[in-house]
């Protein structure tokens, strides 16, 4: 009975009955199950933590360097695209054989077109085949002479009497607005001409 009680009170040794294990394994097991407070396990833990921190820092550093490299690559691509765009941009004088936006030759070519030219237009009051300031002036003089009751010129006064086509804006009367319409048509620049 006593023997039984004593045997029950004994702490259970994990190594009990391990006499048959090899010595190396026993040493390892002893180190593994050793009390940290007595055999320097705290030191091992600190060492482990230090190694862990060092490893983490190394990996983060690599990731940061990779981010910088990636950013640099994007910036270089962006600059290359912008440079190419500027080089070949219309109007850029950098590209070989670049055509100026509005060089003298082109402007002269444009200038050879008569502004406001429009054969058989109702704006062509004098019937010379093009619309210019003469047409506006002819109509303005006609209006003025009509207002003053004068008859400066048969041709001029006839312009108002003989046809209602002098009402160019269609507002039911021939007045200064119609004259301005012709003048504006005379100086009008073609979109294509001016844009070249």
């Amino acid at each position: 009975m006593n023997e039984n009680s004593e045997s029950r009170a004994q702490p259970r040794d994990p190594h009990a009955g391990s006499e048959s294990l090899p010595e190396a394994l026993q040493a390892d097991l002893a180190a593994l199950w050793a009390d940290p407070a007595t055999d320097g396990g705290g030191e091992q833990e600190r060492l482990l933590r230090r190694q862990l921190r060092a490893e983490l820092a190394k990996r983060c550093g690599a990731r940061r360097r990779f981010a910088w490299a990636r950013g640099g690559l994007v910036a270089a691509s962006l600059l290359a695209a912008i440079s190419v765009g500027l080089y070949f941009m219309p109007g850029s004088n950098l590209a070989p054989n670049a055509k100026p936006a509005a060089g003298p030759d082109q402007i002269l070519a444009d200038a050879s077109l008569s502004p406001g030219q429009n054969v058989s237009s109702p704006l062509d009051r004098d019937g010379n085949g093009r619309v210019d300031i003469r047409d506006a002036y002819v109509l303005a003089r006609s209006l003025r002479s009509a207002d003053q009751g004068e008859n400066l010129s048969v041709d001029l006064s006839a312009d108002l009497n003989k046809n209602s086509s002098a009402d160019l804006n269609g507002d039911g009367k021939v007045d200064r607005l119609d004259v301005e319409l012709i003048a504006k048509a005379a100086v009008k620049l073609d979109d294509v001409e001016q844009g070249k």
Binding site: D132, I133, V138, R141, R144, K184, L189
Partner: protein, 157 residues
């Protein structure tokens, strides 16, 4: 986060100074691509018509800047009362190097001899002043008949 901020700031700084950079052109020389290289100035040019003894009832002129470096910023009327109002022109001319100007006298009092019919206000590059090419489209007397006229443009200020 800070790295991204630094990168963005560096990119902004680069583009801020990029126009001042020098780039190589096709001739192997260098051309400064710089906004600061152009020296803008505002100049006025008087447009003159000399009709000798004839009275000028209406006129129409085409002005082309062959240098194509200037920009029209305004048109002013002439010195004679008959053409004191600014001439007609297409506002599109403000975007190009070519303009057609025209005006007619509103009454019978017409200028004779040499008279300034308009003033052109231009913003020009001081290093590349405008080279004008003028074309007289029409110059007519009181009855709308063509008259001989000499055309001239000269810098006023």
């Amino acid at each position: 986060m800070m790295a991204r901020l630094h990168f963005t700031l560096a990119l902004i700084a680069f583009f801020a100074v990029a126009p001042e950079l020098t780039v190589a052109d096709s001739m192997g020389t260098t051309a400064a691509v710089s906004r600061a290289a152009a020296r803008p100035e505002f100049r006025s040019y008087g447009l003159y018509l000399d009709t000798h003894d004839a009275g000028l009832g209406a006129w129409q002129v085409e002005v082309v800047d062959l240098a194509a470096k200037s920009r029209l910023v305004g048109i002013e009327g002439g010195e004679h009362r008959a053409f004191a109002q600014p001439a007609f022109y297409d506002p599109k001319a403000l975007q190009g190097a070519r303009i057609v100007l025209a005006a007619f006298a509103p009454d019978d009092e017409l200028p004779r001899g040499k008279t300034r019919v308009a003033t052109l206000h231009l913003r020009v590059d001081a290093d590349a002043p405008p080279e004008f090419k003028l074309r007289l489209i029409a110059a007519v007397d009181a009855l709308g008949n063509d008259i001989d006229a000499e055309l001239e443009i000269r810098q006023e200020s």
